[in-house]
Symmetry: C4
Subunit: 204 residues, 4 copies
């Protein structure tokens, strides 16, 4: 029991560290971005950042405990409406950590791409995505139209995740990146990899 608690605490600290790293990089400006970690599988429970707070320093007790429908179980503040995307990703992929960033370059590539999919290939850095063994890998990054109707968006994301189970992340047009991992470290690495690839791809 003490051990389980300690494992949870470790995850939470790793998440707070990852958020601080992301904020320092300028990837969550103006209170943007949402970040979560799964702390129970069945029933699904996540800790997620509050809506509208500065992400430079987020402490464990500023996180909200939510259930699989995105409702707050513990915590006084309002979660982001986008919390439903976090629970959707966790349910369909089994991810332990979900990170959502707003960056200059992910916004730019999402708006330049007129089709619904961005293809990234030929980069060694693709090997930083879980399971990818070669730079010849073709990473297909879905670009969804942005929407304020989050339940509708969550259904589209869910359908696409089931069709494309090897996906590592997706973009919302003019909005940002969602990526995840089976650990906080993996999700954080995926953020770094995708942001590197977007910045490079956009300026090739």
């Amino acid at each position: 029991m003490a051990k389980e608690l300690s494992k949870k605490e470790t995850k939470v600290h790793e998440l707070c560290d990852a958020i601080s790293f992301i904020a320092q990089k300028g990837w969550a400006p103006g209170t943007g971005g949402n970040f979560s970690v799964v702390i129970n599988d069945r029933p699904l429970k996540l800790l997620v950042t509050m809506s509208g707070v500065d992400k430079h320093i987020v402490t464990p007790n500023e996180l909200l405990l939510i259930n699989r429908s995105g409702k707050v179980i513990e915590g006084k503040a309002k979660p982001s409406t986008e919390t439903l995307l976090h629970t959707t990703i966790a349910r369909v992929t089994g991810a332990e950590c979900i990170l959502h960033t707003h960056t200059v370059w992910n916004t730019i590539v999402s708006m330049r791409e007129s089709g619904g999919t961005l293809k990234l290939t030929g980069f060694e850095m693709l090997k930083g995505l879980q399971g990818v063994q070669t730079h010849t890998h073709e990473e297909l990054v879905p670009v969804f139209e942005n929407s304020q109707d989050i339940p509708a968006l969550a259904r589209k994301v869910s359908a696409r995740l089931r069709k494309q189970p090897n996906m590592h992340g997706f973009l919302l047009r003019g909005h940002g990146l969602y990526t995840w991992g089976k650990s906080v470290a993996e999700a954080r690495r995926h953020v770094e990899i995708f942001e590197f690839l977007f910045e490079t791809y956009a300026q090739l």
Copy 2:
């Protein structure tokens, strides 16, 4: 009374923190930029940064107390001539904090825009501007011709603010951004949002 003082002190510390954050970002280089906080409504009194000082560390006692005409009530140094824009914005909008940055990207978009208004739309980050609910919002950012005649400029700004009360900020061509908020935190968030949008828009 002690409570009022403490509220004022809090605001001042928040302003000094915001200035330091802005300077670290490189958004107030070469002693550029002016920053103020309203500490009394009627009669209007603001604390404002001195002219010509480095903005990396600004302490509370380096701020000047000024009245609604931009004259110094307390403090030995010269305020910026642009202080009149701060008092104008405070009077017309009721803002509590006014922040003026000089950045590479706000200068670039202000000089590229040949018309008098920059339109920003389609960005999720627009929702970081107070009261904006959707990325389909059209934010109209006035671009005024730069001038060394600050009283004349202040009259133009005042007239435009009255015509367009939902404005969140404006640009001076080749010069920089003015934005504000009903708290220091809101004004600081507006700076982050606008700088993100300018950097993204300019490189789309």
Copy 3:
């Protein structure tokens, strides 16, 4: 003996410092990059970073001791398969330190260059490369096709190094930079020089 040990310890600390500097610059994102220092000439022994670890803080006991074939002599973790490039460079050039970075700009110039060689000339900063005396120097940077067959790549690198002994570094297309020096400080300076030159050249 104590003196020899101390010299080795100094090198190792300099390497860890250099890695930290490189990571802070964003030049080894997402656990990317490999870094090594030679601690014995005959037989060749290098200390090299582990595969798949974050490079922001690397401590001396996280380095692996390897022999001239790239096999681990001391240490529990897996070295990068690219370790063979480190031993090849050390053997052919006599370098004491080899640094391999993954950056936005080295990736961009490596992918834009359709031929096999990038020519850099006319930059004062070329004089930061060991032995270069004038900005009119022509630095020829080989661009090898990227490959997951590291032994084959190492043979190509070895052959080219023997043909072009005054080389200071090379690029792998879509992958990154390898550079080196007769000391950790020299190799670190070469990274800074090359990254500056790539960033400048790409935006001329």
Copy 4:
């Protein structure tokens, strides 16, 4: 006497601070850049940085005392051959501090400009240059061809400085910026202003 010493010490600390700030900004990479402060007028004596050292931390006792011909009076290390440009600028302009940076954007604008002069106008930030009162000011920045013959270059610089006494700085093509001021703070502000203007101008 104690007072004079103290004034000198202050200048030296301000110079070391300015160098550290410049290095942190990435404006003196790979041991690049030279920085000096005048500590005696007649006969002219300057303290100048050593050649080939990393500029992230420069302490007062790493500076070399040189005379008006650029010869070392005190200090064991080799000064940069470019020291002669520092003494030339000090003699002709009466500047107290001379700063020479190598940056991506000053290199880019120096190489794009085919003529011998870059004209900067229309920027509010021009007012950060000593004596400039309006954004309509036209700052003419000479662009000299780079050369390894420093005495010849110094003669050209000297002649141009006498012809154009209101100059605030000049560029060496493919090499970098020289700027100065009647105090360390003024010279440092000039670096910030010029680097801002070059970065903005190059991306307009």
